[in-house]
Symmetry: C3
């Protein structure tokens, strides 16, 4: 099985699929092709949340603002999974989650269980320097799949590498004793839910908190409040999420990606 994720929209992912299907009969599953354009951190967040629900697979990821420059191409082994994509950090949070799901939310976890390889290619011989998804990463993902997650380093153009770009989500500042936590908005989903880096257990046993100084009820479900009412909940990723029943939390709380969120109680 090979999953595909990118910021390409259409029809570029279809060219990647054509290339892959010329090399393997693997099942293909789209994760998303509408990640925010060239936003490596958002893609890394969603991949970390979604990929651990898959059975062992090769995950092809192309969010690649540095395409055509000298940034490397990587293949990462993570538990029974492999990831293939550009060396800009986008693979690492998901790789850590796949290698050790229990520590997925811990920004200080070591990279136990991860092995990082470089996929060598010659840009001068590549068909294009603007579409490595098709010309470099898709064939590499197919080849890794065919070689097997456990043994793809036997491929000619794969070599271990020690130095690669990492990406860590910012750690929140928690002061549980004084009843305050400061974090930030990591992503906003399509419903408008603002997902923070604050751990959901901050809300355990509370009926309400203050978010950036204003009162907000804590709810287990969006529909626990009347339509259009603001609420704070634990999202499906386990983090504190700012939401509105049948509305957009980002607008109601006045926050965007990267904005600070101070929760007090």
């Amino acid at each position: 099985m090979i999953t595909l994720a990118s910021d390409f929209g259409t029809p570029y992912p279809a060219a990647m699929k054509g290339v892959i299907l010329g090399r393997t009969d693997a099942r293909l599953v789209d994760v998303a092709h509408d990640f925010p354009r060239q936003d490596v951190r958002s893609a890394a967040f969603w991949l970390r949340e979604v990929l651990p629900y898959f059975p062992p697979a090769v995950h092809l990821v192309v969010v690649d603002p540095g395409v055509g420059t000298d940034r490397a191409a990587l293949a990462v082994r993570a538990g029974d999974h492999a990831l293939v994509g550009p060396d800009n950090g986008v693979l690492l949070p998901a790789a850590r989650a796949l290698a050790s799901p229990a520590v997925a939310g811990d920004a200080s976890a070591p990279d136990a269980g991860i092995e990082v390889f470089e996929v060598e290619y010659d840009d001068a011989e590549t068909e294009s320097s603007t579409f490595h998804g098709r010309d470099v990463f898709a064939p590499a993902a197919a080849d890794v799949h065919e070689a097997g997650t456990g043994s793809f380093e036997s491929l000619d153009r794969i070599a271990p590498v020690d130095d690669y770009a990492d990406l860590r989500f910012p750690a929140p500042d928690l002061d549980r004793d004084s009843g305050a936590a400061v974090g930030e908005v990591l992503v906003v989903d399509g419903f408008g839910n603002a997902v923070t880096n604050l751990p959901g257990d901050l809300l355990a046993g509370r009926d309400a908190v203050r978010v950036n100084g204003e009162h907000a009820p804590v709810a287990r479900a969006y529909a626990a409040l009347a339509p259009s009412e603001r609420l704070v909940t634990v999202g499906s990723h386990g983090n504190v999420e700012l939401a509105v029943n049948r509305g957009r939390g980002d607008e109601a709380f006045g926050v965007s990606v990267g904005d600070g969120v101070r929760v007090t109680w």
Copy 2:
């Protein structure tokens, strides 16, 4: 085969696919993941129109404004098909169409051929209370598929249920003798075609009708009129549709979902 439909956008459906593929090798087919957010009626309409074209399958449907509340999860047997989703009515019009395609358009048809079951789950033990698509419905759809459409009630947590939410589309008011019919716009598709609940045979043999008092030609094809010209046609679902050749019918006729449509001749 398992089809998937939701209002999730991306990447949430991928998490559902991962969960399913951890339990079954079934073919997965996306119906749509961009249904209007939390609009149970629109989703129910489209599913009723599209699902009957599929061979026997399990249809996973998650348009679920009540996620995390005490609304039940359902599995419905309909002919050789099964549907899995929330107990808010969204499954029922499609289930009736699948059980008895000939009466799909008849809002008064009995529920012959449909059997409704509750999928039991413990919300306190569920991984999240905001993403039952991943944590409740996806595993249930996979399990129903593996057990078989004909025998899934053998599953431990499946039990017959008599009381469930239904959803009926409004019946039009037809006065064929005096040449008038009053209905409403059920949905607007991506082209801007306004699909009404009026039966297409009202237009048989007519060159033109009046829509909300204004003249409109009847055409078999959009391109029978010049570009930008308004027309009335029988849509692919068999209903009267307000359209514009290479334009948006909803704007040209000034109608939105739920608006009344009076056709006279």
Copy 3:
């Protein structure tokens, strides 16, 4: 394998998939369903660029502003591939590329290797006259797939045809000696890159050119320039492309589809 491409958005493509899966177990791969509405030329361009990356397959294409009129339905054999869609030219550029990839970019190439057939249908017996994708083209694509690309003319309702709509992209006007080339914008992709019909080799060995009279650097990669800087590059299709690093080339160069582009050096 059957690929699907249309301007339908959702959920209409799912009805086509249901029809196909009632007739064949073929793998289905989406190319795109968000081609610009009823824009035959844009769809033809993207299909010509993407389909040659696929292994042998049947390609179902429905961008069909003439649906329900007397335009014919076609099946085209192109090398080891087949294409099925409306007789409006949309299939031909891709068919030529599939039959003879080496001349894909040559607008004057003969139709060597292409055989064109009409798929006969009776519009009066078709379920709808507004959704031939579901009622005419999807069953035809499934039947062509089952009969085999090499022998589908054995099907009852398939007949060779000599007269069919073609579509040729405009040829650029190149004056290499005097350092000037005049072309036009063929499409704009989702990133905002404006793809022209000018051959990429015009840029070989140059550091900069003038585009419509204004200076623009030539770069191998978007990221060779600072964010928001304009550049000219050779796109993944081999043509001259007007772009901006992490921005929209169409806006920065002030061009839309069909606009003239004069490159001088």
